[in-house]
Amino acid sequence: MRDTLRWAYALNQWNVRLDVFVRHEDQQRALKTVSACGFDTIELASGTGRWDNISRPEVILTNHGSHAGFLDFLRRARVQGVSSMFWDPQAPAEEEEGYAFRSTADPDDADAIVEWSRPFVDFVAGVGAEQLVVRPVGSAWMTPPLDADGIKRVGDVWNRVGELTSAAGIGLAVHYDCLGAVHTEAELTGLLDATDPARVGFALDTAELTVGGIDPVAFYRAHADRVAHVHLKDTRHADTGEEYRMPGAESTMLKGGAGRRIERWFFELGTEGGLVDVPGFVAALREHDYPGWVVVESDHGGNPAELAMLNSWYLQHELGIAK
């Protein structure tokens, strides 16, 4: 995309199950799709094990030999580089004690989580990416209520990781999601206040904030100095019934197993009935000369190629950005 803003595309929707995005030729097709849609930079998301060979740093390096080898692999499809990588330390990973279910909300887990971050810090720096984007805390239904001290404990973990990322010359951005134990605008602001602005930025996800009841445009305007990274996607629903508190909210809420039975929450830009003011948000980014990456995402959606093409159409025809 030829624009003053820097645009990237997240690969996560291609890797929707354990074993469906493994063969290099399938990954090349995804990369070519992203490239044909006008994006020459991608965001990676963390995973685990032998089949996550475009997600887990150690497995990527086993497949491609080196950071340079991985970049060569991307460039075969005319994708020039990596903007960022997403990591959720609460998600089980073989490489991180398997199913230990550690949490940033538990001070006893802090050392382990900081240690677990090292492969990601090294990888993000090694491939020349700019941001390690992290899920700061687990789901609300799995986490005891967080008071100010609890949020400070979470912030302390990320301040420590932020020291590692700063030393490696990359950024660290904590990402809000609609299921997280840091949920309300006050809690989110509290987390930002609990982290060192010099080392920890905010990854603003337009759809996740909207589902969580926070206006992304207003929040950006209020915290533009902290926003280091953007995920741009739309939603048709806000969580008006506190469905995020339901047990198993990953399924009961986000896959429509209970509550209002909404089976799909996240949508492509320009979707009918979308709640995010995408033009307004992008205009706000331009007003503030936002310097970071804008990563278009289509996770929890549908056919990833169709969604990438629709997002590309929106950027070209609704936002007036030349491919």
């Binding site: 097709r29 995804a30 056919n303 169709e306 093409m309 590309s312």
Partner: protein, 322 residues
């Protein structure tokens, strides 16, 4: 400057609440489909004659459908594909007694295209299946040629060119048969449409065929194949495209290791001075779990990178030769 006249042949399947369906499922799905093609840079749209009544119903007429395309970045409907793949007692190109009916059908199709910006190609399968037509003699081909000469005269009056798209399983499939057919048809009325995969499967080199008939060629289906028919699959009744025992999927998108030399064809196209539309076709891309959307994006990536380079090289060679 890279080639800008890329069109898309209207095969597509997408997921709907009623299972995988063509995007004509409803207008919302059509919206998505057309925007997706537009995002990749396609500006021409080819469709089938049998979709015209459906689109007319959805958009208040075929011109209304074309305006919908134009609202989403397309230039126009570029081609209409008409065919009688199965010979019946009503319509069979090799049976002269059915020709009046076929001409009447074509007249109806042309009537539905009135008011369009300017459809260029009236693309036809010149024959039905080989197994229904054989034995294929010179006289058989002459009968078929007479039909398309009539249709060619008809479409010319409507500003469209009748152009013949040969199937590997059709009655005119070998190089000799194609030569005979083109010799029996009026070069001013009946043109040649080069489907790269179909010719390759039939054992005919599409690059050489284009080289030999460039002056009669009015279009292409850029699609690939990984198999030449070495088992007379073309004679499989009732359908060789999906029922051939040895090959379960014949067609692939460009850039996936197939047999067609697309860069060579691109260079030949540039050298010939051809300046018409180039059409991407994905026929049965869903076989084996494929996705039309991804196949189309991958093909367009191949166009934007590999074919653009071949085109640039060919133009540079032309420039230095002058």
């Amino acid at each position: 400057m890279a080639w800008t006249k890329w069109s898309y042949m209207d095969h597509w399947v997408t997921e709907t609440p009623q299972g995988p369906q063509p995007p004509s499922f409803n207008r919302a799905y059509m919206d998505r489909y057309v925007k997706e093609l537009s995002a990749l840079g396609f500006t021409g749209f080819d469709t089938f004659f049998f979709y015209l009544p459906l689109y007319a119903g959805m958009y208040g007429g075929v011109p209304g459908f074309e305006r919908f395309l134009q609202d989403n970045g397309f230039e126009k409907i570029t081609g209409i594909f008409s065919a009688y793949p199965s010979a019946t007692k009503y319509a069979a190109p090799h049976v002269r007694e059915t020709h009046d009916r076929i001409v009447a059908d074509c007249t109806n199709t042309l009537r539905m295209c009135e008011g369009l910006t300017g459809v260029e190609n009236f693309i036809v399968m010149p024959t039905s299946t080989y197994w229904q037509t054989e034995p294929v003699t010179d006289d058989t081909i002459k009968v078929v040629a007479d039909l398309w000469n009539r249709v060619g005269e008809l479409t010319r009056r409507h500003g469209m060119t009748t152009t013949c798209h040969f199937e590997f399983w059709g009655a005119i499939r070998t190089r000799e048969q194609v030569d005979t057919f083109l010799a029996h048809t009026d070069p001013e009325l009946v043109r040649f449409f080069c489907d790269t995969a179909q010719h390759t499967i039939a054992g005919v080199d599409p690059v050489q065929l284009f080289r030999d008939y460039a002056d009669r060629c009015t279009g292409f289906h850029f699609k690939d194949t990984k198999d030449v028919d070495e088992h007379e699959a073309y004679r499989t009744p009732p359908d060789p495209e999906l029922m051939a025992p040895q090959v379960t999927r014949w067609f692939y998108e460009m850039g996936e290791g197939g047999l067609v030399d697309f860069p060579a064809l691109m260079k030949e196209i540039v050298a010939s001075g051809y300046d018409g539309w180039l059409t991407v076709e994905h026929d049965k891309a869903e076989l084996g779990g494929g996705s039309y959307a991804e196949a189309t994006a991958v093909a367009k990536w191949y166009i934007d990178n590999v074919l653009a380079e071949a085109e640039a090289e060919a133009r540079a060679e032309l420039g230095s030769a002058r």
